[in-house]
């Protein structure tokens, strides 16, 4: 399955868009085949390589036989990690949730809803849909939710890798999980300007609920996997991995689940603006703020809002393996790059601050959406939270300043130096 997906995607990578689409179609057919009977979750190879790569490459010691023993020890530990994950979460066709109501696991993941989203595509005896995730999401987000489905390398913005537990478009601050409503919005409306489509015409409400449930399941599984792998870095290669309930459930799983449970209560409240955000005065004030050093929007988005201020950064998913922009040694960078591409098939790409003159908002165009984006920042990306005043009159912004910024941002596409809105071609990679 791995090989198939990789080969398919490799052939198509870098081809002109027209070809890409054709190849895409054939990839889709192949994947339906590979995804089926005994689908297995993939392990987080990039994270493993980053955490234990040297030892797994047999470079854990100067002494060759010791190095081999270390490598073997790590492989066995990783087998244990995989078994622990299978114990806690099952496999794509046979998902499992630790039935621990006390910790709230069953509160966050409803195992009754799992079959609707998990497993092979089809219908149950009552005619209800099954395997919706594989039907609608897998070719972008991957069976494991690693954002590495066969279509992924063709996209300019890669599909979300759920395993880091970070989400962009939510009402909660950095570090908090999205609420169900946030995930619902992303799936229902899609993410404008990216390949993430709207499913409003394709999925019934209860089906979306089942898919939200499954996204959480994949994300929690992915975060627990990262914790287990991290744990290995504190162990010698010949030590035993602790797979007690105390560790797996009461520590790792509980930790991640608690955050999902707190999502609702960590939502950022939205105060009403004290005036109208279409008011010319508000727009003017917003412009001064946008271009000034207190709000600092211009330093990334550019003074004109074209998104051309800071183009050298990467998002957190890309930086998880290496801090690409800051590897100063050219050989080291080339080596890392080669490794990363072999592991993920996704060449690292810079993230660009949004061109605000296009008037396309990925997290939604309602003022309240923009409020959350600007007030809280966009998790996983360079976009930071606004710096609010810590004491009245001190340096920083007020709530009204945020609304003025929204007024200006909403007005930017219509400002005179604005170019005609460009066609949104974010979905496919630029041709080289």
């Amino acid at each position: 399955m791995n090989r198939l997906a990789n080969t398919c995607r490799t052939t198509s990578n870098g081809w002109p868009a027209v070809w890409a689409v054709a190849v895409l179609a054939s990839v889709g057919m192949l994947v339906a085949g590979c995804g089926s009977p005994d689908a297995q979750f993939k392990s987080n190879r990039a994270f493993i390589a980053k955490s234990l790569g040297e030892e797994l490459a047999g470079e854990g010691s100067d002494d060759a036989s010791e190095a081999r023993a270390i490598r073997q020890g790590r492989i066995e530990q990783l087998d244990t990690v995989n078994a622990a994950l299978a114990a806690m979460f099952g496999q794509p066709d046979d998902p499992f949730v630790v039935p621990d109501a006390e910790l709230g696991v069953t509160d966050v993941i409803d195992d009754a809803l799992l079959p609707t989203a998990a497993g092979a595509v089809g219908r149950d005896e009552n005619g209800y849909a099954r395997g919706l995730y594989r039907q609608h999401c897998v070719h972008c987000h991957g069976v494991t939710g690693d954002g590495d489905g066969p279509t992924a390398p063709l996209l300019k913005r890669y599909p979300r890798d759920f395993r880091m537990g970070k989400f962009k478009f939510k009402r909660t601050p950095l570090g908090a999980k999205p609420t169900d409503e946030d995930l619902h919005k992303v799936i229902y409306d899609g993410v404008a300007g990216t390949a993430m489509p709207s499913f409003k015409a394709l999925l019934a409400e209860d089906e979306i609920d089942a898919i939200i449930n499954y996204v959480k399941y994949l994300s929690i599984r992915g975060e627990v996997e990262r914790k287990l792998i991290t744990e290995l870095t504190f162990l010698e290669a010949n030590e035993e991995v602790d797979v007690s309930k105390d560790m797996l459930v009461d520590t790792f799983l509980a930790d991640v689940v608690a955050k999902w449970q707190q999502a609702e209560e960590s939502a950022t409240p939205v105060p009403a603006p004290s005036g109208s955000i279409t008011d010319q005065a508000a727009i003017e004030r917003g412009k001064v703020l946008f271009q000034g050093k207190t709000a600092n929007c211009f330093s990334c988005h550019g003074v004109t809002g074209l998104g051309d201020g800071q183009l050298g950064d990467y998002d957190d998913w890309t930086k998880d393996f290496a801090d690409w922009g800051n590897i100063l040694d050219a050989d080291e960078k080339a080596e890392k790059l080669e490794q990363y591409i072999e592991l993920t098939g996704l060449p690292p790409r810079n993230i660009q601050p949004r061109n605000l003159r296009q008037g396309v908002y990925r997290g939604g165009r309602r003022p309240v959406d923009l409020y959350w984006r600007i007030r809280n920042g966009i998790e996983g990306t360079p976009m930071p939270a606004a710096g609010m005043q810590q004491s009245p009159g001190g340096p920083g912004l007020t709530e009204d300043d945020i609304w003025d910024l929204i007024a200006y941002v909403k007005h930017l596409p219509y400002e005179t130096i604005s170019r005609p809105p460009e066609a949104v071609v974010e979905n496919l990679r630029e041709n080289p």
């Binding site: 790569g53 299978a86 114990a87 009461d250 330093s299 710096g387």
Partner: protein, 310 residues
């Protein structure tokens, strides 16, 4: 910028093609994906579902016998010292470039070594979890807990002024911007933050819990800016000064302790060392020490330069 981006994508594409010829989706160094050990998985599932195991039984530890000091120094062997004497310039990008490059491009601060090979900013700390000991008053000296002294973390000329900061959870962190341009300060810890900080601005930040190792601080407006913060429940930590020296006082004596040593430029914890003339491999968990009450243990450590790069 644009052309560079394209070029790197092309390169990446070429690499991808090349790699596919021999790789079945596995990195050059990683073993291929292995099938799940079903028997083991079933056994683990039975254990976690039935609630066996329970809370780990606290291992009875003897009581400390008093307080003691751990001190010493970190350096490179004479031949290695010069390798890192010339820190490279950082990769400055973006609209603030002209401002940040005034007076020369900012230099990497990740590895500061003096002419004799002494290494600054090595972090050494007590790795043991003291939250569950029976008599905390015997383990944690009053001078090593509950500090509320604010810690200042500042930035100027587009660099963080302190590459590494060590502090207790109970101490407030005062994040300042003494620069002429705005920054955003991103803390990648259990209670993450990324917030815009205007010139002259100040954020008071509270940690919620300790971290097992230093976490990264960065700025997205100036992505080359990088620093680390270690935050612990107690004050048993130190960082080496410019002469590579450190000292931790009032550690519990007469008991087995685990010390951890970390350096940014080595990418994490250090294991290959020569301590007081003896070559050692410290365990990943940290190395053991047992101190004598009212005594001072000195560790003069020469580090293997292998894992370091600046």
């Amino acid at each position: 910028m644009k052309t560079m981006l394209r070029r790197s994508e092309l390169l990446a594409g070429a690499l991808l093609l090349a790699s596919s010829l021999f790789a079945a989706g596995c990195g050059p160094n990683l073993p291929a994906e292995r099938p799940v050990d079903r028997e083991l998985a079933e056994q683990i599932r039975a254990d976690i579902s039935e609630g066996t195991g329970g809370p780990a039984v606290a291992v009875a530890r003897p009581d400390p016998t008093g307080w003691a000091t751990l001190s010493g120094s970190f350096k490179f062997a004479p031949g290695d010292a010069s390798k890192f004497s010339n820190p490279p310039a950082l990769a400055v990008s973006g609209d603030d470039g002209a401002y940040c490059n005034r007076g020369g491009a900012p230099k990497s601060q990740s590895l500061l070594v003096d002419g004799e090979g002494n290494i600054a900013n090595v972090v050494i700390f007590l790795g043991d979890n003291l939250s569950k000991v029976e008599k905390p008053e015997l383990w944690i000296h009053p001078s090593a807990t509950g500090s509320t002294e604010p810690v200042t973390f500042d930035q100027k000329a587009c660099v963080f002024l302190s590459p590494i900061t060590t502090m207790q959870v109970s101490q407030p962190l005062h994040i300042l911007n003494s620069d002429g341009v705005g920054h955003n300060t991103k803390l990648e810890n259990a209670n993450p933050m990324s917030e815009i900080l205007p010139p002259g601005g100040k954020i008071t930040y509270e940690h919620r819990k300790e971290e097992r190792q230093p976490y990264a601080v960065s700025c997205n407006i100036h992505p080359w800016m990088k620093a680390y913060i270690l935050v612990r429940n107690n004050g048993y930590f130190a960082q080496t000064d410019e002469q590579g020296k450190f000292k931790i006082e009032n550690l519990p004596a007469g008991v087995d302790l685990t010390m951890k040593v970390w350096h940014e430029a080595a990418g994490g914890f250090l294991t290959d060392v020569t301590v007081n003339g003896e070559t050692k491999k410290w365990p990943k968990k940290g190395f053991p020490v047992k101190l004598t009450a009212d005594g001072e243990m000195k560790l003069d450590v020469v580090l293997d330069a292998g894992p370091f790069s600046n």
